[in-house]
């Protein structure tokens, strides 16, 4: 029998086919390398990768609770420092664990300046418990706790700006990236790990089950999020934006219509005002980060 190996995050885990988060685990472990210790929050990734007595992690890995990954990582880092060990500490947490329940632990750990890299795999809702809204859920997305209905268009709020919050803590390196751009992801995670102090990388990781699309569309949808300006890949060094992925922007509709979570914006009837409101969010992103590539006017 030949052993099939899939990097430091092994194959044979129990994620859905086309899971964006599983790809994050695979790419981040690749970037971090074997001399690293991973700290996970409770969530989809923790559950699909470590059903006792099996584990997909070929690097040392610890999971404690939903909200405390940043505090556990603080302890791991202090422990390694005391012992004179050189392993890198990498946190792997979902958006619920990061934007919501883990905020206090994260704020404390970033303020203390521990040397770790915090990866948030952002699939924009609580997927493990059945697609409930989180602070990362985008405007108008229908979830099981922000359902679209006769008098609701779904989630009433925009995503919380976590990168800005952590940059405000003085994090020396903050970046956003996407599974649609693996080279960018690898480069940013490597840079984050190489930067002393607390770094934050937020990875857009579509969830086929939660967002409602076929598993083979994951990468295409992640790419559309960037091409419409609803997700921006950028890098902040010492609080200043230093690098932005520029695009020739497409209308947000092209992204929205691919997913069931936005279906109510098109059926039973098209909701022009809501689509325009989402377009305005993309336009604001474009203006804030300067992502638009200006094409020369077409010749007649």
């Amino acid at each position: 029998m030949t052993e099939k190996t899939c990097d430091l995050f092994d194959c044979g885990h129990r994620a859905c086919g086309g899971c964006g988060a599983a790809l994050v685990a695979r790419l981040v472990t690749k970037a971090a390398g074997k001399d690293s210790i991973f700290v996970s929050s409770t969530g989809c990734m923790e559950v699909f990768s470590t059903p006792y007595p099996e584990t997909a992690w070929k690097v040392p890995w610890i999971h404690s609770l939903f909200e405390n990954a940043a505090a556990v990582a603080s302890g791991v880092e202090a422990s390694l420092k005391k012992q004179g060990r050189k392993e890198k500490v990498v946190i792997m947490a979902g958006d619920g664990a990061t934007f919501d329940i883990g905020m206090i632990c994260i704020s404390g750990a970033f303020e203390r300046g521990h040397d770790f890299t915090y990866i948030c795999y952002d699939n924009e809702a609580y997927m493990n418990t059945g697609i409930q809204r989180s602070g990362a859920t985008p405007y108008d997305a229908s979830t099981t706790t922000s359902p679209a209905g006769k008098c609701s268009f779904g989630n009433k709020r925009q995503k919380k700006d976590m990168p800005a919050i952590l940059a405000a803590h003085g994090a020396p390196y903050v970046a956003t990236t996407s599974i649609a751009y693996p080279a960018d992801l690898l480069q940013k995670v490597e840079k984050a790990i190489a930067t002393p102090g607390p770094s934050y990388v937020q990875v857009h990781a579509p969830c086929c089950t939660g967002w409602g699309f076929e598993g083979e569309q994951t990468i295409a949808i992640a790419k559309l999020a960037i091409e419409t300006g609803l997700w921006v890949n950028y890098e902040m060094i010492d609080g200043k934006v230093t690098k932005v992925k520029k695009v020739v922007r497409k209308p947000v509709e092209e992204y929205l219509k691919t997913q069931k979570r936005f279906r109510h914006l098109f059926k039973p009837k098209r909701q022009d005002a809501e689509i325009a409101a989402i377009q305005a969010i993309a336009d604001k992103n474009a203006e804030k980060f300067g992502i638009d590539i200006k094409l020369p006017p077409k010749k007649e």
């Binding site: 999971h63 404690s64 405390n68 940043a70």
Partner: protein, 384 residues
């Protein structure tokens, strides 16, 4: 060397001598003097430890989990509301079998807010898997930290431990304490050698999730470790006695109990008051004795049944109340004596720092002689 010192200072000194590599704590009354003293030791190079000043107690114990899993001897301290905030983390640390030691300066739980002593906080975590030691005086509070590390880190146990002592009554009181030296402690407590740890050279996964096919065996193993701890405590306590002259091999201690008709059962600093009251009652011809519980988890059921087998009645004093039921110690002592005809009555007292005096102990003995008990003792009738 004997020194007249504050309880908190003596405890901090004992912790220093145990050479914790990572300390993580959050200030809360009446624990603060301990964590301040430890911070001072680190600031003055008297203790070579990483000291993590966390943003709350949940993070304090969470950081200890990470530090312990990565292979360091780890320490924290808290009380009351802080311990309640750690509830989830306490179960988690025990489930991961991490030998973290935490001092508990016992204090009441709100509401209403109270900074004063009772033992509701640690008692409420009796099901969490932590070993629980209770000190009568500052000497014991100090010594029990060494014993706790020795027992918790034993590879056959691998459970975290609370060392509990009454807030203010012990933590802020000056008493003579025999302070150990680094040389003594190093001889007693070897360097921490974790059973397993997070290590890139030998990757393992900690804290996985378990389906119903696996979960009950994890709980069973923890219960077995608790039970094994009785022997490990006996051995480590005896060794402590041989080295320093104070024997902690017994989980319970009797005081003038051999010929007693009435046995009082209690835990913590109240035992000192009880001993004085017993001495006075003995002069009056009353055959009263004390059974002091030093280790509440593992609970010494068989030992208690044996030590109380000859008495006519048992009065259990609880500085806690399982509301809607009884004090926790009364419930467990009654369970220990199940099948015997000895009447066991519970007395809930000293809640939220209400003072307990010798005359209260005498009154409780009189009540138990009349068969009256299972009550809140010493309530102010005009407030009810």
């Amino acid at each position: 060397m004997m020194e007249i010192t504050e309880g908190s200072h003596a405890i901090a000194e004992a912790v220093r001598l145990c050479r914790p590599q990572v300390i993580s704590a959050y200030p809360i009354t009446p624990q603060t003097h301990i964590v301040e003293a430890l911070a001072d030791f680190v600031a003055n190079c008297q203790l070579d430890a990483e000291y993590i000043t966390v943003e709350n107690e949940l993070s304090a114990l969470s950081a200890c989990i990470g530090a312990s899993a990565a292979g360091s001897r780890t320490y924290s301290a808290t009380t009351s509301q802080g311990l309640a905030l750690m509830f989830e983390v306490c179960f988690n640390a025990a489930g991961m079998r991490l030998p973290i030691i935490m001092s508990i300066a016992n204090r009441a739980l709100g509401a209403p807010l109270s900074i004063w002593n009772d033992q509701q906080d640690s008692i409420s975590l009796r099901d969490s898997g932590w070993l629980q030691f209770y000190a009568e005086d500052n000497q014991e509070a100090t010594d029990l930290h060494l014993l706790a590390y020795k027992v918790a880190e034993d590879h056959s146990i691998q459970l975290p431990a609370f060392v509990c002592f009454d807030g203010f009554i012990l933590s802020h009181t000056y008493e003579p304490v025999d302070m150990l030296t680094q040389e003594d402690v190093d001889k007693y407590l070897p360097k921490f050698s974790p059973y397993e740890r997070l290590d890139a050279a030998d990757p393992i996964s900690f804290g996985m999730y378990a389906t119903p096919e696996y979960y009950p065996e994890f709980r069973y193993e923890m219960d077995q470790a608790q039970k094994r701890a009785k022997d490990v405590i006996a051995k480590a306590g005896k060794e402590f006695g041989a080295m320093f002259g104070r024997d902690y091999s017994a989980l319970i201690e009797g005081y003038r109990l051999e010929d007693a008709d009435t046995a009082i059962v209690a835990m913590g600093s109240i035992c000192g008051t009880i001993k004085d009251a017993i001495d006075e009652m003995r002069v009056e011809g009353k055959k009263v004795g004390l059974l002091k519980i030093r280790v509440f988890r593992p609970f010494p059921s068989e030992e208690i049944a044996k030590m109380l087998s000859h008495v006519k009645r048992v009065a259990v004093l609880d500085k806690n109340i399982s509301l809607g039921a009884k004090g926790a110690t009364a419930l467990e002592v009654r369970d220990a004596l199940y099948g015997s005809t000895i009447p066991v009555k519970g007395y809930v007292l000293g809640l939220g720092g209400r003072d307990v005096r010798k005359k209260d102990i005498k009154e409780i003995v009189a009540l138990s002689e009349k068969g009256q008990g299972d009550i809140f003792y010493g309530l102010r009738k005009e407030l009810i």
